[in-house]
Symmetry: C2
Subunit: 692 residues, 2 copies
């Protein structure tokens, strides 16, 4: 026994992070040879998209995969972008040093966060083929591009460099390239097709990055081109300061220890988002610390008290101190219309609905859930629905079963929304695809490979609410479709048969054919609305026409309401009937009483949109008799839209005067909906691509 | 545009590994508060078990959980072991430095591998409560224990120390503790019960560590005690050198660069397992490099050629160079009997079968699959079977859906083996629990939290084979049970009714009651065997009795064979009928012809076992007429046992003379079974705990 403890201890030593990840390369997504290739493409493309977005450049990304040695499974991957480029002296660190990057400490939405990805690719190439990775990069302010071969000294987590130099970079057409980066990597890998493939990864990337042009040349030389469907770059994101609600004790201790602020007042105002001058005062009082106290003197229990004031456990005037929500300009959702465009581009289907929830907060980190649902068309009806998962605009291809986003889908009873589902649990079956996107300043994955989201109550709740809301939309669509089909059938039948009978009878009796309008109206006994939303090539506008028929025997008075893409910046023109704005994106027309057998038309055009931006107008009515083809307006829905509009307007705006005037809502108060089953269909848009 | 590239680059910096894991603490298993507590217990208990195993100490581990502040969810965890202790100067590194440890470069089975776990706990405590972790440790050669409070400077990945000192460590009974370690950690966490709980984690740990005593005091003060069921420590594992089949090019380059060997000959013999002197010569020839070449001169293509020789892509005499398999003394499987004991202890059921496959190799890493199946008893019949996953004797509690071991279970069509399963896929339903354990020198998890295994073709195949084999065992059991029950019913009916009829008839006719043996035999028309396997309290031996009845009208001759735990070191005594060994663990008796109506008994006792080590003897027969209650011997099964026995004997043994004599089998040749559907029930043992 003697000496065993010493003997065991003597074998212990420090391991470099690069040795760690070399041994555990599967943590980074390098497990099978097929997946390794996808991981490499993903890391290079993510970097390209991030760099272009930060530099406000519309990205054009070329990916080429070549089989160098089929017998030994050696593949060459080239990824070229038109990003800002990387300064020569930074190249070795970006590509040859793990945990080196600019995004780790920033609180804003970005694809890459850790500074691991592309260095992992260099490491994998070196490990499996012994070869270095060739990097060429040009920045706009220099006449030539820097070139260098990068490897990784895994014992030290440092790059190895070879063949460094400079050269003029010519485009294929002979012109000189202005700026961009090109990575040429050779690795042991397998190229394959199917659901988990490079092609599928790029297709999904193009759905959530409609501003990117992606050109992929596969090993057979076939070129796949995903065109840019919008010239609009994603909203520019700003880094924000941490929010007091997301701070943990250890972090607060460290912030204080590293602070150079004069005193607690300055510390609170300089280092956090959501802390106004009023809140600063109240926090100090709740924590029972003078705001003028020097930072170095704040220790032990003081820090604990301050954190308790942050978390509302210590009160000011008997209430938790109210803080502003963190600003949400650190997030860049894809937004409904672009998701719809992306989905329509890549999946042929009959019905598309998308929905972007207002931003929420978990542990001080703003996040936002977006969902899309595609139904019908040529999607197979007897298989589980396709699940398209995304985080910060990056497709998640593996570990579907272990991902929070999948669990959110599985938690909904889809049977009540028109999809098959064994036992009301699990991924539903049916001719549908469900898209779900999380935008967040801190996406919590289950591992470095970034393929599945870790459990988080708030994110789960938001995703679930979005699913329920979308499910209700699907049910309504299916019900409306059924009802419209029935009415249409009846109407056509009556219009065909009744005149024929009337004519025949008149002929036999040798009397004139009677007028049938009254009879048809009596038999139909319904008010029907028909809506068309069509792109007008000549005017480059979207023309909308709503027709209302009164096929009942009494006069009817209605207010008709319609959704329109106000939020996306569209303008309404040629709206001769006038009307008025009811809420953001909802217009209303109060119509005169419509006599039996009469019809009325509303028409207007939308400008400032592109083709396919707006293919479906949702129509509502106020009035006592149901209208087939429109939905009775739920006034709660309107209120909710107005309330959310107000939240969005207020978010992140400092209150004008301190201590008086309106109190900004605390995060808890302004969370959009607290009860999961009554979430209103906020901002939901529906598009009929056609009726079967 | 100008300057954007520089601006982006200027924000980049190096992140410390500790900062990385602080931000991504969910990678380490610290996501929800409930899971964080389980993770902390797991890391501390794994360390204790590893240390005891290396020091060859039978572990006694005490875990105590106390709620310090219910409102703020602050919990104190104390884990105390009787391991060898940690020398004072090592404590700060073990507890306060990430990626510090002894097992990272070692190639052998151990619970911990990365040097992250317990430091992660210290980090989590500091982050959530601001508190340090108290460590007390005593080694046998010092009179007092070292005590110290450990924190973590995450910016530098270094420990912070406070209140370091020494003290005498008293046990509860007032005696001085000889050696051991105690960790006291305070963290934000939630204690909960149920399927994912500390209790469940410890229960599962006790199943696969039957040599450990575990005492758990829960927050209500209730003490849960899992006793030690065997005094046998797990087989001692030896670190091995890497095997040429598992080497990648980058690794070979580094090994050469860091080598101090004289020349290639020495390099090959000194640094690899499986390379004999013959293989060394052949490898040099296949690679076309002189064995006497200096290491420094081996570069570029030479290295590639050497690797190709390793991988059999370059040939010697037209054949791949044959290498010995890596030795398997680096693995320590639990072994069938102990799994059975552990399962029987914690789950009440009727039927238990377990199976340990022979070691296999993936990417140069030896590994071994063990499985167990429990059926019947009071397990619920309408729910999915309980899946108990383990890797290197550590229970896996989370991410069941994303784990390779679950996928192996799901890939089997269990319907043909008597369990319900929708569509023949997924986790089956029924009154059963399935245990699966992977022992490996390099367990590839999907993340640092070590909760799910990453995909690997070879491991999947082995696990699947084990499942199929076990499934066949279950089906046989269910069929045999059914057949025996039917025969018994028939026999009892005949034995009841026939004599009654005979008596009545005789009475009516006033004639003597006729002898019925012949008639009963004619009606039964079967040969029946009955076997009992019972623990004898007095002799401390297991008594086995096999009875064979001939209820047919002809004489019958049989050889009867029975399984017995030879591998586990049992001895057979009192076997008056002699017989002979057929294969490892299979004994055979050639019996004289049995006349109609006759019966014969075989009995013997097994010594060297403990109670419940052996509760069921499997009986086979050779002969033309079927025997109810025994299985016709499949000669292939015997051959397979003999072949595997030979493999085990040969494994890791250097061949006696170079270049001549028997050639050791290459890894490919010696893999036990290549076709998944015909894997024989190797080493399968079946235990009837009783019949329902």
């Amino acid at each position: 026994m003697a000496g065993i403890a010493q003997k065991l201890a003597s074998n212990q030593k420090q391991v470099a992070i690069s040795e760690f990840f070399e041994k555990n390369k599967h943590f980074l997504g390098f497990d099978s040879q097929a997946r390794s290739l996808i991981t490499a493409v993903k890391e290079a493309v993510d970097n390209a998209l991030d760099a272009c977005e930060e530099a406000r450049i519309l990205p054009t990304i070329r990916i080429q995969i070549t089989k160098l040695d089929t017998k030994k499974d050696i593949i060459q991957l080239v990824v070229e972008d038109n990003g800002p480029g990387i300064p020569q002296k930074s190249i070795e660190k970006v590509f040859g040093q793990l945990l080196f990057g600019s995004r780790f400490h920033a609180i804003r939405q970005s694809r890459g966060q850790q500074g691991i990805g592309i260095t992992g690719v260099v490491m994998y190439c070196q490990l499996t083929t012994g070869r270095t990775t060739h990097v060429r990069s040009k920045i706009a302010t220099e006449p030539t591009a820097a070139v260098v071969d990068i490897g990784l000294d895994t014992r030290k987590n440092k790059a190895t460099k070879a063949n460094a130099g400079r050269e003029i970079w010519y485009n294929d057409d002979g012109s000189a390239k202005e700026h961009g980066t090109e990575v040429t990597a050779q690795m042991k890998a397998k190229y394959q097709k199917g659901r988990q493939s490079v092609w599928q990864y790029l297709r999904m990337t193009s759905i959530v990055n409609p501003h990117a042009e992606i050109i992929f040349t596969d090993p057979e030389g076939e070129v796949h081109h995903w065109t840019r469907v919008t010239e609009r770059l994603p909203t520019k994101v700003e880094g924000i300061k941490p929010h007091p609600h997301g701070i943990e004790l250890g972090q607060l201790q460290r912030m204080l220890a590293e602070s150079t602020d004069l005193n607690l007042n300055h510390f609170l105002l300089n280092n956090f988002s959501g802390v106004t001058n009023r809140a600063r005062k109240e926090l100090c009082q709740a924590a029972e610390i003078e705001g003028t106290r020097k930072i170095k003197s704040i220790k032990g229990d003081d820090i604990r008290h301050l954190l308790e004031a942050f978390q509302g456990e210590r009160l000011f005037n008997g209430m938790p101190v109210k803080l502003l929500k963190p600003p949400t300009n650190c997030l860049s959702p894809i937004e409904e219309m672009l998701i719809k465009k992306g989905l329509s581009k890549t999946i042929d289907s009959r019905y598309v609905t998308t929905l972007t929830r207002v931003p929420s907060v978990t542990q001080g980190n703003p996040f936002q859930i977006e969902v899309g649902l595609i139904f019908g068309g040529n999607l197979p009806g007897d298989k589980p629905v396709e699940v398209l998962r995304f985080a910060n605009r990056v497709p998640l291809m593996y570990q579907q079963g272990g991902c929070l986003l999948t669990k959110a889908i599985e938690s909904v009873d889809w049977r009540q929304y028109g999809l098959d589902q064994a036992g009301g649990k699990g991924v539903p079956k049916g001719p549908a695809a469900i898209l779900v996107h999380l935008a967040s300043t801190n996406v919590q994955f289950t591992s470095e490979a970034k393929e599945a989201l870790a459990d988080n109550g708030e994110v789960m709740e938001e995703a679930r609410k979005a699913m329920l809301e979308m499910g209700r939309g699907l049910r309504k669509h299916l019900e409306k479709k059924k009802k419209m089909a029935k009415t249409k059938e009846k109407f056509e039948l009556i219009n065909d048969i009744l005149p024929a009978i009337a004519e025949k009878s008149a002929q036999i009796l040798d009397r004139p054919v009677p007028g049938l309008a009254g009879s048809i109206t009596k038999i139909m006994s319904a008010v029907i609305s028909e809506t068309t939303t069509e792109w007008n090539k000549e005017t480059k506008q979207t023309d909308v026409e709503i027709t209302l028929f009164n096929y009942t025997s009494r006069a009817r008075a209605y207010t008709i309401l319609a959704t329109w893409p106000e939020k996306a910046g569209a303008g309404m023109v040629g709206n001769d009937r006038g009307g008025r704005k009811e809420a953001l994106g909802v217009w209303a027309w109060k119509l005169d009483a419509l006599q039996p057998g009469e019809q009325v038309k509303i028409h207007y055009s939308l400008r400032g949109l592109e083709r396919n931006d707006w293919n479906e107008t949702e129509v509502f009515f106020r009035g006592s008799q149901d209208v087939i083809g429109a939905t009775k307006m739920d006034e709660k829905f309107l209120e909710e839209i107005r309330r959310q509009e107000k939240i969005v307007e207020e978010a992140g705006i400092e209150e004008p005067t301190e201590g008086e005037g309106q109190t900004p809502q605390s995060i808890e108060e302004s969370e959009p909906v607290s009860e999961p089953t009554v979430a209103p269909p906020t901002g939901q848009r529906t598009l009929f691509g056609g009726e079967s």
